[in-house]
């Protein structure tokens, strides 16, 4: 009798497995994206069965293009495979797959920041010839020229741009209205608003920024310096981390710390979204690709309390806003064994006009004038932000330099290192890379 009683537990567990297994009906059958569509994707398929591995992180802005590509270009013999992966994972796998003579991935998502370095190391296939061949068929000339330039290096095109992302401020309209606050246009206004919210006892840490000690935090520092018209290196390749602008930017970031969660250096963008969803923060600044999630009722009960504004400036007289303009696109790695024209066709179909239209409002496509105030809740904010962003400094050393200075930056932000010591260390770390 005793033994029978304790057989019950495994039986219950097996029943649970059965129920959960039933949810598996139709495994792998859909991509489930409201912003993806099916487009024509005509290429010459190779003999036999082929798998095309696509590397792209998941976000509400990238997924429409990835899902369009996967659903439109797969046939019986050619399968496009896209494993879900977070942004950190994509960074890791990009470096890993480009490291040797053979790689795992055939189409990789890249962005303006890493293109110079990868192009310099000859890790990406230049796309000019394929572009000329297929531009008319896929209406590629309608892709914004400045964005194509952003995906080029040394006169050659290395990625097909699919969308742009820029910093956008998201804030709680209800909290701001109650306290008579306006969306902040400078860091000082952010602090004033945060003070007011704190005094009113509404939230303890009203500001949330993605400062995770990976690419997130160094991008934020770069954005702060950009607001002052500077960057980690100057246009002629000189490392500029010991300049007054570098110091001012760092101090501006530190001035926001009292109004942010003490564990802010563990926040990536999904976690910052989480702060907004949970009502623990009233304003955040993230890439535009993360804005659409905030408006979906499925994600939180506060979905109609969010408003959007362009990114603020560091100070009222700063030339640009606290902003990074990132262009996302598709590239072909040098070590793929598949036919490059076929891969280019797949990429081109994913950035076609139909696909780009469908991706709004989740994304800000690279085709001109697709996003307006009407068709996107954050459209006005995004357009304002694009206009106020600093044109990027192009340097093949930036990506590596950023990796070197990042640990030092984190130490300063955590209060373990003084600003001056931190700047000096970052300067010498940067000089080691840039030579």
């Amino acid at each position: 009798m005793v033994l029978i009683r304790y057989r019950a537990t495994p039986m219950i567990a097996l029943a649970a497995v059965g129920v959960l297994a039933l949810t598996s009906c139709g495994a792998g059958s859909r991509t489930g994206n409201a912003n993806a569509t099916t487009v024509s994707c005509g290429y010459t398929a190779p003999e036999g069965k082929t798998t095309v591995n696509v590397l792209a992180y998941n976000s509400s802005a990238i997924d429409p293009f990835t899902d369009t590509m996967v659903s439109s270009c797969s046939t019986d013999d050619v399968t496009l495979k896209h494993d879900p992966i977070d942004f950190g994972g994509q960074v890791t796998k990009t470096t890993a797959t480009l490291a040797g003579d053979t790689g795992t991935y055939d189409i990789i998502e890249t962005y303006g920041f890493v293109i110079p370095g990868l192009a310099e190391d000859e890790k990406l296939v230049p796309l000019d010839d394929l572009y000329d061949e297929l531009a008319e068929e896929y209406d590629l000339d309608a892709l914004s020229e400045s964005m194509r330039a952003g995906m080029s290096y040394d006169g050659k095109l290395y990625a097909l741009p699919m969308q742009a992302q820029m910093f956008v401020t998201a804030y709680r309209t209800d909290v701001f209205d109650d306290l008579g606050l306006k969306p902040p246009t400078t860091f000082d206004e952010m602090i004033t608003a945060a003070e007011a919210i704190k005094q009113a006892g509404v939230m303890e840490y009203p500001i949330a920024l993605p400062w995770l000690a990976t690419a997130d935090v160094s991008t934020s520092y770069q954005a702060a310096m950009n607001s002052l018209g500077a960057d980690f290196v100057s246009a002629d390749g000189e490392v500029t981390l010991d300049t007054p602008e570098a110091k001012q930017a760092l101090e501006a970031m530190l001035s926001l710390k009292p109004y942010m969660d003490p564990q802010v250096t563990t926040f990536d963008q999904p976690k910052v979204q989480q702060q907004m969803f949970n009502g623990t923060a009233a304003m955040s600044i993230m890439f535009s690709g993360r804005m659409n999630d905030l408006t979906l009722p499925a994600n939180s009960k506060l979905s109609d309390s969010f408003g959007f504004a362009g990114a603020p400036k560091l100070t009222a007289d700063a030339p640009y806003s606290y902003n990074r303009l990132s262009i996302d696109g598709w590239s072909i790695p040098f070590n793929t064994k598949l036919d490059k024209k076929m891969l280019f066709t797949m990429m081109a179909s994913a950035v076609s006009e139909k696909a780009s239209k469908a991706s709004v409002p989740a994304a800000y496509p690279a085709r001109a004038d697709m996003v307006t105030d009407e068709n996107s809740p954050y459209g006005a904010a995004a357009n304002d932000s694009i206009d106020s962003a600093m044109p990027p400094v192009v340097s093949p050393y930036l990506a590596d330099m950023t990796n070197e200075i990042r640990p030092i930056l984190v130490e300063v932000l955590n209060g373990n290192l003084s600003v001056d010591d931190g700047l000096a260390q970052m300067q010498s770390a940067g000089e080691k890379i840039a030579g």
Partner: protein
């Protein structure tokens, strides 16, 4: 048994272990003296990798963290495992149920258990455990950005996943304590606590030694659970040795194989040194039994 028969039976295993365990180890030792990347023959640099590893502050912190966690975990596992085993020893009918429940954390993959653990302490995910602890202590504890709380979190997770193992082994040992010994102690007027301390524990010395040994060996190699529990490991000084090797020789396409291999070799030496007392004990017993 004839020698030929022995080798026929033993050969497949020997082949697999030789090719897949011994050869890679030899390769690691070879790489530790070279500057080398994957797929490319390396160049000999003598002891440069070892010097770099030993003078690297980050390596020192990794060793300190790993050894501290190992020591604390071992002590908690021995004491906690003993107490729980004693309690479970009294159960009769409910024993299979309790053992089954306790075993869950041991059979779960470490990574999965650590992810579930981290959700309990993360405010972004509702963090129930964090709320309860803050309610009790009145303080805000930063589990992921402060070194000591994060260390406690890692230790808690390691103990959580290994205590079933410790408890089971000690339970087996407790069952082997002759009841006459315990009776004799009680007749002599010993209290319960004294019985435990002076009669039972010395009798199960060997079992406790075994638990200590396995715990030390397993915790020194910790890696899986740090991925979700300590995303800031490097900056707060809570990297384990294995995590350090991973970030130096593999993560993000890092290819400093020479340095990574040197650290591996140093770790092997460290582990061998820690194992020496146990190895000596084993051989002494084997000789005694002969």
């Amino acid at each position: 048994m004839k020698t030929r028969e022995f080798w026929v039976l033993f050969f497949p295993s020997l082949l697999v272990m030789g090719a897949l365990l011994v050869l890679p180890l030899v390769r690691t030792v070879q790489w530790s003296f070279e500057q080398v990347r994957y797929g490319v023959p390396g160049e000999f640099v003598g002891l440069a990798n070892f010097v770099e590893a030993l003078t690297d502050v980050r390596f020192g912190r990794a060793v300190l963290f790993t050894v501290s966690v190992t020591v604390v975990t071992t002590i908690i596992l021995l004491v906690g495992g003993y107490i729980i085993a004693t309690a479970v020893n009294r159960l009769t009918i409910t024993r299979p149920l309790v053992l089954g429940i306790m075993l869950v954390s041991y059979v779960l993959p470490n990574l999965v258990g650590a992810v579930a653990f981290s959700w309990l302490f993360d405010d972004s995910f509702g963090g129930l455990a964090n709320r309860i602890i803050e309610a009790f202590t009145g303080n805000q504890v930063l589990w992921f950005t402060d070194q000591v709380p994060n260390g406690i979190l890692v230790i808690a997770n390691t103990v959580w996943s290994m205590i079933p193992f410790a408890m089971l082994i000690i339970l087996a040992g407790l069952q082997g304590v002759p009841s006459e010994l315990k009776e004799a102690a009680r007749i002599d007027g010993a209290s319960s606590f004294q019985t435990h301390l002076h009669v039972i524990i010395p009798t199960i010395r060997g079992v406790l030694g075994f638990v200590t040994l396995i715990t030390i060996m397993d915790v020194l190699r910790m890696f899986d659970n740090l991925i979700p529990l300590s995303p800031q490991a490097q900056s707060i000084g809570n990297e384990s040795i294995m995590l350090y090797v991973y970030s130096v020789a593999f993560a993000d396409g890092a290819q400093r194989l020479g340095l990574g291999s040197a650290i591996n070799v140093l770790t092997i030496l460290l582990i061998l040194i820690m194992l020496i007392p146990f190895i000596r004990g084993i051989f002494k017993e084997a000789k005694a039994e002969r």
